[in-house]
Symmetry: C2
Subunit: 216 residues, 2 copies
Amino acid sequence: MDSCVTAALAARDYECAFLHLNYGQRTEQRELRAFHDIAAHYGVSRVLAVSMEHLAAIGGSSLTDRSMAVTAANLHATGIPTSYVPFRNANLLSVAVSWAEVIGASAVFIGAVEEDSSGYPDCRQSFYDAFNVVIREGTKPDTRIRIVTPLIKMTKGDIVRTGITVHAPLHLTWSCYQNEDLACGLCDSCALRLRGFQSAGVPDPVPYAVQPDYRL
Amino acid sequence: MDSCVTAALAARDYECAFLHLNYGQRTEQRELRAFHDIAAHYGVSRVLAVSMEHLAAIGGSSLTDRSMAVTAANLHATGIPTSYVPFRNANLLSVAVSWAEVIGASAVFIGAVEEDSSGYPDCRQSFYDAFNVVIREGTKPDTRIRIVTPLIKMTKGDIVRTGITVHAPLHLTWSCYQNEDLACGLCDSCALRLRGFQSAGVPDPVPYAVQPDYRL
């Protein structure tokens, strides 16, 4: 959902190329389908789906390690959840910047959310600020690429409302960490997403096994 | 050669894990063999060889794009050579830091050379300084990983002399960008390496098709 709304915002001002990362996460196939569906929706033909199987080999996350359980959401918990994939977004941004430098892109959009999020360290604005310095120092002198994080200060409710305003195809998105057919409604990602739709007062177009009320 | 001397320096103070990156470069198989040979030499069993085929798909470099020629060395040229793989070292470091965070490593050694090098932007100390900030901002609060670049200020002659001093197995290394059996002696990487051995006054143990004198 966050990537889709980010794409909708980017598509207003830029000719887009879409990048997707498979990293051995449980819902890899469903996410890849969503990626291609959203690319088709926007008529984006320049797409790159990258397999980073090493992130699963490295492990350390309940998203990629089948021996770790995907825990039920606790939106009041503090600390970093087991779903954290170590340094994942640096891997993603590195691929994006390599590609951007070759095709001459000027911006890399990413749907990271800092405030109303799971507390992943690589979703903080300070991480993206630091990465912008790495890009400046590690690319050709005439390369100008900046990371853009339009959602970073939004709540999930803001993201849903923004998505509806810009006609983002939210029905094509997938957020559940656990299932590929019917969203579980219980994992951290489902909980955050459902709370967003509930606080925006609109139904989520994606099918769920259960939809607890997360507004409390 | 640079990676091997770096590994030799790291092995004096650390229990090591070795990471190798295949990225569709022409000499991928020969470099992978060198990686395993050097790991065996040091008795390092924790090894990870990662395939980043997307760097070849992205292209933009004579090392990965078969339609671009590997140009003959010109050690007096300025500018960034065609062998530059866009933002490659950020991709490499991102994998290394993901792995380091999971296994609890405290340092990531990389054999980057700034002064006596091909002029790649992602081999500059300023790039590694910036990346250290990204690591601090993008990993768990209790994670402490720093990038170490022991060769960054060395000439290739210094690297050869240091390698000999610390008994690095230079005969197991491979540097040629072009060939996998007999080093060409003509590409940028061969030229820099040969100049290093020539200025150190010792023979290179690796076989060459030709060995021009690069000391001028």
